[in-house]
């Protein structure tokens, strides 16, 4: 089971900084995902700092399996005190879940999470823990078992209280109104990804707000348990040439999506399996060689230049229209990404007369794998051959 997790946020109207903060960590070796959504007191920079501190600390505590009760006391004691209200405050929702379905959820002050299975909202049992140092602060702790296709939605109170005081929503959208929107969308599109769902939900909430001006920061964190989407990227010719045929065959037999990055690599597969390949020549391909076409392969690009650019786009999040953008999308549309990296080097690439710096393939792939794991929470396997 794969846990697809995504958070979408919108700022309060007229603010420059987000007052809610989302942070998550994936531990592929432990098949574990940890995520925290925190809503800081007030709005703007002050709220941002409070929420950021809360969620970052909480994530670290949870990663290390610290006692949650103690962790929360430490956090509340270390937050800066608001000048206006004289308190240090931020609410949070945190989830620590494993791919076998075991999950622990802790909530303090945020709206209760929504657990959806087969189009129905479940009502899980919880335990209440009272803070020793802070009155009025109670945590809810849930230990639940997730099944495949379950969804969990967390939100900040900006979502449930949107449009409060208007004729249609005197008390705001409220939990029930929010659930209705979610269930409607799930009925239309039962397999929607977490990313699309959370994006959709915050957009809907903004549409409900009078004049589309949100009066509070609004965040939706969505979690979806599903089968992982797997992909394989073959880049670089294998070091032992006699193994070309073996790798070409095992590449083609792979069940998920397939990509080749590298002209020589594409030629090897084309030669070994006797599948023709054509490179697209285009005047508008940007500064990178265009894509090639090969039957049975979802994407074929040039190698080093495209990979270098893809790494740049993954880091900046701002792709331009070219082959690297296509490769980036290919990577981000997968949950588990496998790289087969051939170690054969082309000496021509190291000719100092080449006008630009060309990196060693191994290094680029290592860096791409790192960004995919750390920034995009993907599971990445790299095999050097």
């Amino acid at each position: 089971m794969f846990i697809d997790i995504a958070c979408s946020q919108k700022k309060k109207y007229n603010q420059n900084a987000y007052g809610d903060y989302f942070i998550s960590g994936r531990f592929p070796n432990m098949n574990r995902v940890v995520a925290v959504l925190s809503d800081g007191l007030g709005s703007g920079i002050k709220a941002n700092i409070l929420a950021c501190m809360t969620s970052t600390m909480l994530l670290k505590f949870m990663e290390n399996n610290s006692d949650i009760e103690k962790s929360c006391e430490i956090i509340m004691n270390s937050l800066p005190v608001c000048k206006v209200r004289g308190i240090s405050y931020s609410t949070f929702s945190a989830i620590d879940c494993y791919e076998n379905g075991k999950a622990k959820i802790v909530e303090e002050g945020n709206p209760d999470f929504i657990w959806i299975r087969n189009g129905e909202v479940l009502k899980p049992q919880f335990q209440t823990i009272q803070s020793k140092d802070f009155k009025n602060r109670k945590m809810k702790v849930y230990n639940i078992n997730l099944k495949k296709f379950d969804r969990i939605i967390f939100c900040s109170d900006g979502a449930t209280q949107v449009a409060m005081g208007t004729k249609e929503y005197p008390l705001g959208l409220e939990r029930d109104g929010f659930i209705k929107i979610i269930l409607n969308k799930l009925e239309q599109n039962p397999e929607i990804s977490s990313n699309e769902l959370s994006d959709y939900l915050v957009r809907q909430i903004q549409l409900i707000a009078p004049e589309r001006k949100l009066k509070d920061d609004t965040s939706v964190l969505s979690l979806y348990c599903r089968d992982p989407r797997e992909s394989l990227i073959f880049t670089g010719p294998p070091y032992h040439q006699e193994k070309d045929s073996y790798f070409a065959k095992s590449f083609m037999e792979f069940k998920g999506k397939k990509a080749i990055s590298g002209g020589t690599t594409a030629n090897i597969i084309s030669r070994e399996l006797n599948i023709p390949i054509i490179a697209e020549m285009s005047l508008n391909a940007g500064k990178l060689p265009g894509l090639s076409k090969m039957e049975g392969v979802d994407l074929v690009t040039e190698g080093i230049l495209t990979l270098t650019k893809t790494l740049e786009y993954l880091e900046s999040g701002k792709p331009e229209k070219d082959a690297a953008q296509t490769l980036m999308k290919f990577l981000l549309d997968s949950d588990i990404i496998n790289f087969i990296v051939g170690a054969q080097m082309n000496k021509a690439h190291y000719d100092p007369n080449l006008p630009i710096e060309i990196e060693i393939r191994k290094n680029i792939i290592k860096q791409i794998a790192k960004v995919l794991e750390e920034k995009y929470l993907k599971k990445v396997n790299v095999q050097f051959v």
């Binding site: 594409a266 030629n267 020549m281 005047l283 265009g290 040039e302 000496k347 690439h349 000719d351 006008p355």
Partner: protein
């Protein structure tokens, strides 16, 4: 008459050494020669890894002949010669 086949290498080395400009050929060749000449890209002709000692990228293959340090002018000239001798 058999068509002349022009293959432009779009591999890494060729592309950075000037192959990018050779993509103009997709536009020029059909206009100039109609269907007498066929032009296509190749993910890599594999020339630079054989002749790396005296790298002459970018390469273009016209039927079975390799043009080294190819430019649009060089390619068109080679096509003209070929057509003339046929």
């Amino acid at each position: 008459m058999e068509k002349i086949s022009v293959k432009v290498c779009l591999g890494t080395t060729c592309f950075v050494m000037g192959g990018a400009n050779l993509q103009e050929l997709v536009d020029i060749i059909p206009r100039k020669y109609g269907d007498k000449v066929e032009v296509a890209g190749s993910p890599c002709l594999g020339m630079c890894s054989i002749q790396w000692n005296y790298s002459k990228a970018p390469y273009v293959k016209i039927d079975d002949d390799i043009i080294e340090e190819a430019t649009v002018e060089k390619v068109l000239e080679a096509i003209d010669t070929k057509l003339g001798s046929k």
